[in-house]
Assembly symmetry: C2
DNA sequence: TACTTATTGTCCAATATAGACTTTATCGTC
DNA sequence: GACGATAAAGTCTATATTGGACAATAAGTA
């Protein structure tokens, strides 16, 4: 890492530490297009890894880009913002990326939502309306558990299996990485989800 | 269940439904000292089960007793209140017990706490000050994970093992049912906790 | 003391899982 | 639309976890 860029690493540490453990800060080197420094690395990136900066929309030449949303490898949802950082000659030398794990805040929202909202008993499966499939899955699980007077934490294995099968029946696994996402919510392994789905196919084939 | 008591069962349903799924309502028959009705049964009580009402402090002859705290069989913490209910002749015929699962609210508190509080770096292990061992364990896990910039949800098996061993080293398993409690927080089985502890003893014996 | 009940700890067969792997889709480029 | 590069969808297996039953021990209770 160049000394110019080096000086920003402390800034990364400061930001990450203030919001510990909800925030990760990645400093990208624009020269080599790699990750030069990572504070509170929860995305499990490696130093020196290619930055894939082309994913970020630099149009307009703004210094601050975002915020935008990403999904972490393990299904947690991340709110991110990026800043182009410069050396003393005002040359753009890096991009500082702040990634915030908002999964806990979503959870918190759901607890309050469950308490304060009046459930709609419209006959139509309202799970199908939200456009983001994450939301659809959340919605589905929320109402599935609500109807049974339970919460995800208290589901038995059998119940989780049923939930997964029902969700599959509704086409809930069409989104990208949705198996991963559901696995994390239900505290199951990804493999387990696939096992359930396979068993279900097997069962329906036999009947 | 006598018709007199029966009439209260709808009240139970109403209360439970309003706070679904966080509240359970148990109607005890004072005659037989058994559970006569249960709405949203999360304590896994059976109808007709003995009520153990003597646990409740009736001194003073108050109609409303509590609130007081209990711990559910699976380690969730419950805030409860009880009301003596009467028939038309003002004879006490039952006790209506409202049990609220506060574990989700505690969780929520912790998320906010982690965000808003400034960690004390007093050298002394502050885990030892709280008098309730539940709190001590919570505190321990919170600071253990904080130091490593992770959250309980993201702990690997190996990390959970280390956490359990460290906690055991601090005497964290002296409370009643503490193994159960820790298991639930870490999303482990009770058996797994004991496996870890046994392995640890084994290891230290060999070294 | 003896009896009752709750907790601790162990065991095992059934189940889930990390991680490596193969196959299949998706994307970007020409 | 063919090609190569990536990512995601699935599969597989050796190992770890776990529900539930049980035995051993402790803690009340009368």
């Amino acid at each position: 890492m160049t000394p110019e860029l080096q000086r920003y690493s402390d800034v990364c540490d400061a930001i990450a530490k203030l919001f510990q453990p909800y925030v990760e800060v990645v400093l990208h080197d624009l020269e080599s297009e790699t990750a030069a420094y990572i504070a509170n690395n929860f995305s499990h990136r490696e130093l020196g890894e290619p930055s894939l900066l082309h994913e970020i929309d630099f149009r307009g030449g703004e210094a601050v880009i975002g915020p935008y949303e990403k999904v972490n490898w393990d299904g947690r949802r991340i709110k991110s913002i990026s800043v182009v950082v410069r050396n003393d000659k005002a040359k753009a030398i890096g991009v500082l990326c702040i990634n915030m794990d908002v999964s806990h805040f979503h959870q918190l929202q759901q607890v309050m939502e469950l308490l304060s909202s009046v459930p709609q008993n419209t006959e139509k499966p309202e799970a199908l309306f939200k456009e983001d499939w994450h939301e659809r899955i959340n919605e589905f699980i929320l109402s599935w558990t609500w109807e049974r007077g339970v919460t995800v934490e208290t589901l038995s294995r059998q119940q989780k299996r049923e939930l997964v099968e029902d969700l599959a029946g509704q086409g809930g696994f069409s989104g990208k990485n949705s198996a991963n996402y559901v696995a994390r919510i239900l505290n199951l392994g990804r493999a387990t989800i696939y096992n359930y789905l396979k068993d279900q196919k097997e069962k329906s084939r036999l009947s």
